[in-house]
């Protein structure tokens, strides 16, 4: 089963901390979004494998855009 990770708040992508194929646990930090000069980590909603990443450093993201897709275990 796949799970989409959504953007929780609008901003720009400060860092992408995982790459495609990485095994992750629930609550791992995936991406850091910069908004109002504040770094906001986005956490994994579930454990699994990163199957697709749709953003890169510097991208401007809006609420509810898809950041990445996780293949759940």
């Amino acid at each position: 089963m796949t799970t989409e990770v959504f953007v929780p708040l609008a901003g720009s992508i400060w860092q992408v901390l995982v790459k495609v194929g990485d095994e992750i646990d629930e609550d791992d930090e995936l991406v850091v979004i910069e908004a109002l000069k504040m770094e906001n980590p986005v956490y994994a909603p579930c454990a699994g494998t990163v199957s697709e990443i749709r953003v890169k450093k510097g991208d401007i993201v809006e609420d509810d855009d898809v950041l990445m897709i996780i293949e759940e275990k």
Binding site: P8, A10, L36, K37, N40, P41, Y43, D63
Partner: protein
């Protein structure tokens, strides 16, 4: 012998030396702690200059810094120009997508009025009391604007109080927020508001300027410039003006603002017991404002199923965007996957407008 008689050293007073220490403390905090450095650094230096004897820098009619002060602040030019830049920096999406959050920004003006009455009861004049109360709005340019109009002798102290408390938002707000909310309330995740269109964001500054100025004409200088700056931003067709208002112009006027405020703080004016009360009452105003925002959010929750996280109420004290960042941090402490930042921007921005309106009301009643 004239050289000796004209030497500043001989005209020094202990008060002046004491003021150097205050100037140095502000410069130190600006450099090492980065407390509002853009303002506290020039203010600190201005204080030291103002307390060097025989410079005539603040001499009416001839002094260099007096000219900055007179034409910039007494003529009420600089605060509205800063508001032009703030308007250009402000995104009203958070307010427009959940208009009910405006009430929280309005509630945070309670501290202004409570303190106004408290200061008046303590023996300050009505004009002085209004200036002290407005510190609770935690909005620097508005405090300066009001003080220049109503109580110029308090300008230095009230400006320094306002900027100091803004710098200390991360220290002052969290205890109040924790005291007034439960763990469960801090964990409330808010539902996203609707998406705001570009057209709405273009209409808003026009409409808001008309309505607010019709209701409170005395707020016009600040509101007009703020909304003009915002229109620059949202129109998307005057990027150069938008850019200039946000950066170049704002930086230039900030320099003159800082040094002028600092230089208004000579020992004679500043070393009085009233000033201690101003700092004390300012802190009181600020705390009451934050508390009112939180309590109103809790009250509103009694009537809605779409719950508001009461922490965002504390962002009604303006201090944009520091107060919203503090809300985000305190919220994330309770639940790290809770993103309150953008919700907190609603009351935060509404708080700025609310403080300007409060100042406009004071001006129309008291001037």
């Amino acid at each position: 012998m004239a050289v000796f008689e004209n030497m500043g050293l001989l005209a020094l007073t202990p008060g002046m030396v004491f003021m150097w220490a205050i100037g140095l403390i502000l410069i130190y905090l600006a450099i090492t702690r980065q407390y509002e450095p853009l303002l506290l650094l020039p203010i600190g230096f201005g204080i030291m200059l103002a307390n060097l004897p025989l410079t005539y820098l603040m001499e009416p009619g001839e002094g260099l810094i007096w000219r900055f002060y007179h034409y910039g602040i007494e003529w009420e030019v600089i605060p509205p120009l800063i508001f032009l830049g703030l308007g250009a920096l402000t995104d009203f999406s958070a307010v427009l997508s959940q208009p009910r959050l405006i009430f929280l920004g309005a509630a945070a003006q309670v501290g202004v009025y409570v303190t106004f009455f408290a200061a008046y009861a303590m023996g300050f004049t009505l004009q002085e009391a209004a200036t002290i109360g407005i510190i609770g709005g935690a909005d620097g340019p508005t405090t300066i604007y009001l003080s220049a109009k109503l109580a110029p002798h308090l300008l230095g102290a009230s400006a320094v109080a306002a900027y100091s408390y803004m710098a200390m938002v991360p220290l002052i707000l969290p205890p109040i927020m924790k005291l007034l909310t439960t763990e469960a309330e801090r964990k409330i995740r808010m539902k996203k508001g609707r998406k705001v269109t570009t057209r709405e964001k273009q209409v808003f500054p026009l409409l808001a300027a008309m309505v607010i100025i019709l209701l409170v004409p005395a707020s016009a200088p600040l509101i007009a410039m703020f909304m003009l700056g915002n229109l620059f931003r949202e129109s998307k067709v005057v990027e150069r003006l938008n850019e200039a208002a946000q950066n170049a112009l704002m930086n230039i006027v900030t320099i003159f603002l800082g040094i002028s405020i600092g230089a208004s703080m000579n020992a004679e004016n500043f070393l009085r017991k009233e000033v201690i009360f101003i700092f004390f009452l300012g802190l009181f105003a600020f705390s009451v404002s934050a508390a009112s925002g939180i309590l109103l959010a809790k009250f509103m929750n009694l009537f809605t199923s779409n719950k508001i996280n009461p922490l965002v109420g504390a962002a009604g004290v303006s201090a944009v965007p520091m107060a919203a960042r503090v809300v985000q941090k305190v919220g994330a402490n309770a639940d790290k996957q809770n993103y309150l930042l953008m919700f907190a921007m609603g009351p935060n921005i509404a708080g700025v407008i609310g403080t300007v309106i409060a100042a406009g009301i004071f001006i129309s009643i008291l001037q």
